[in-house]
């Protein structure tokens, strides 16, 4: 029984992935392709945020660190002339190192204090981009960020990126997103994931069984930031414009709403949350000024009726049916 469920689960996952790969066959409108490209970017950013939440601390520096990934890879390409395919991994490494400095002063704190110190240090970094015209472009941001370099594979036509060619961006974002999700999934099932859970449950007992809580928390935060940087980097070279204001605290709030409404307990939570909200936003386009209101209502309703998020709904229904059956018997 358990095996059959597991088998079904993986068939379902593969079907969704296949659907995502085939989507451009059916959806050719550049507008909708744009919506989906942004969806893939948000998924990797939100899933990596959730990964850091598994150890019990909520970081508000996550979105600025995503931005750091974007700035780093844009600058590596523009100032050092690296190819996008080199700039991306280097930018991820640079962001990981910067994350160490951002989280260093935050880590002695926990709970609300961690939330606010991480907000403060993330904001310091963001304001640095606004303040220093060289190299970050100041308030006006970085403009004319080059598109990713064309891909040459022997025997295939050259794949070019550009404002008129959305499909290469679509597949790049999708592939990098899936790669990121796969690594995050494996990490969660590894020893690191189990230690994260222990730290979330009890910091005190974790220390008492010999877990170096500080070090594990740092590793988890840095890994999370690295995957946010992948999202930021794709964003930068896709939109070709980076402004400090793009990564203001409001985006951080939205990302947290996506994760919470989807459910932070399950790996699928942030994915479901992002898909739902990105599509919802398209529905709300005629009344766009009410978007924050609707998001707020959905968040409040979820926290009231489904505190573990939408992905806990199937389990909830199963429990309810089971209860009914027992009551009848």
């Amino acid at each position: 029984m358990k095996h059959r469920n597991l088998w079904r689960k993986w068939v379902g996952v593969l079907a969704v992935i296949l659907a995502a790969f085939l989507l451009p066959v059916f959806v050719q409108s550049p507008y909708w392709l744009h919506v989906f490209i942004m969806m893939w970017i948000y998924i990797i950013v939100t899933a990596s945020l959730r990964f850091t939440i598994t150890m019990g601390e909520w970081s508000f520096a996550h979105v600025p660190l995503m931005g750091m990934g974007g700035y780093a890879s844009a600058l590596l390409m523009m100032k050092l002339g690296l190819s996008f395919w080199t700039a991306l991994p280097v930018a991820v490494l640079v962001t990981a190192v910067i994350a160490i400095f951002i989280y260093w002063p935050c880590l002695p704190t926990t709970g609300t204090f961690f939330f606010f110190t991480s907000f403060a240090f993330g904001e310091v970094m963001r304001l640095c981009w606004a303040r220093f015209k060289n190299p970050f472009g100041g308030q006006g941001g970085l403009v004319l960020i080059p598109a990713p370099n064309p891909i040459h594979i022997a025997g295939f036509p050259i794949i070019e990126f550009g404002p008129l060619y959305k499909i290469p961006y679509y597949y790049t974002a999708l592939t990098l997103m899936l790669f990121g999700l796969l690594i995050l999934y494996l990490l969660e099932g590894s020893r690191l994931g189990r230690v994260a859970e222990a730290i979330k449950e009890s910091n005190l007992l974790s220390q008492s069984v010999g877990i170096r809580v500080w070090r594990y928390k740092m590793v988890i935060l840095v890994v999370g930031s690295a995957f946010a940087a992948i999202g930021g980097s794709i964003y930068a070279h896709y939109v070709t414009l980076l402004l400090p204001v793009d990564f203001y605290w409001g985006l951080g709030v939205y990302i947290i709403i996506y994760a919470v409404v989807g459910g932070t307990r399950r790996f699928s939570g942030p994915i479901v949350g992002v898909i739902l909200f990105v599509l919802l936003r398209e529905l709300l386009r005629p009344i766009v000024m009410y978007v924050p209101l609707v998001y707020g209502l959905i968040l409040a309703a979820t926290l009231t009726f489904l505190p573990e998020g939408l992905t806990s709904l199937p389990d909830r229904i199963m429990q309810w049916i089971e209860k009914r059956r027992i009551a009848k018997a």
């Binding site: 449950e201 005190l204 008492s208 069984v209």
Partner: protein, 261 residues
């Protein structure tokens, strides 16, 4: 049981801990000998738990030193002390509430599980083999503390008595040479008290030195080799259980709650 009094495993010297204006421990000194069960008693607020907190690195002492096997361990972090073989249980249920009993035991083996990060990442056969042996180890330990029937329950769904035993099992999972138990008998049923007393004797017989904080003196005095008495942060007596029972100072400290032994 003959105890060699020549080998102090833990030496506490002039240990002082102040929280602001409150002195929780004031120049406490005593030795813990290898292979013994040492009882630490005292009225509420005597500083017993603070003593454990300072020894195990949760708090830094304001003054004084702690030596373990002759080495100065004052101010080391909890995880460093566990590596050296000092482990503790907690008075209030400090557990991973939402994790199962088995998961607790696996986590308690943290230091004794090879790193094998890549193995756990890719779920290689050698990693699975290691996982199986860790699990077998954990199950064995659960049998020792009498929790083998509860392995899949979450900690928060266990009864108080089982939670206490789980706390001890987690401390044992780190393979300590010195085990500090903070009120392992509090709020247990009389039958359960006997089980835990037997367990403590078993642990000692396996070569682990045990220090026990306890309010239930009647039960404690039946198993411990020596007793240290704290009152308002100071050590007021130290000796064999029979001597402590007669000690006027101790009786006075407990006055109001007449000492019944």
């Amino acid at each position: 049981m003959t105890v060699s009094y020549l080998h102090p495993i833990l030496q506490i010297r002039d240990l002082t801990k102040r929280f602001g204006g409150l002195t929780a421990l004031s120049e406490v000194s005593f030795d813990v000998h290898e292979g013994e069960i040492l009882g630490v008693i005292g009225p509420n607020g005597a500083g017993k738990t603070t003593l454990f907190d300072v020894i195990t690195g949760r708090y830094r002492p304001t003054g004084g030193r702690v030596f373990y096997k002759g080495e100065d361990i004052t101010g080391l972090k909890p995880h460093e002390l566990v590596q050296k073989g000092i482990s503790r249980s907690f008075q209030l249920e400090v557990l991973f509430s939402n994790l199962s009993v088995l998961q607790h035991l696996i986590l308690s083996r943290h230091l004794h599980t090879e790193i094998g990060f890549l193995g756990s990442f890719f779920h290689t056969p050698s990693h699975r083999e290691r996982q199986r042996s860790t699990e077998a180890n954990a199950l064995e330990l659960l049998k020792v503390v009498g929790l083998d029937g509860q392995k899949d329950k979450t900690a928060s769904s266990l009864s108080h008595g089982y939670q206490k035993s789980l706390g001890i099992a987690v401390a044992l999972g780190t393979e300590p040479t010195l085990l500090l138990l903070d009120e392992p008998l509090s709020a247990l049923s009389p039958e359960r008290v006997e089980v835990v007393l037997d367990l403590i004797l078993t642990i000692r017989d396996k070569g682990v030195t045990v220090v026990v904080i306890e309010h239930n003196m009647g039960a404690l005095f039946r198993i411990c080799d020596r007793v240290v008495v704290l009152s308002v942060g100071e050590k007021i007596a130290e000796g064999l259980p029979e001597e402590i029972r007669e000690n006027q100072k101790v009786i006075k400290a407990y006055l109001g709650g007449a000492i019944v032994v």
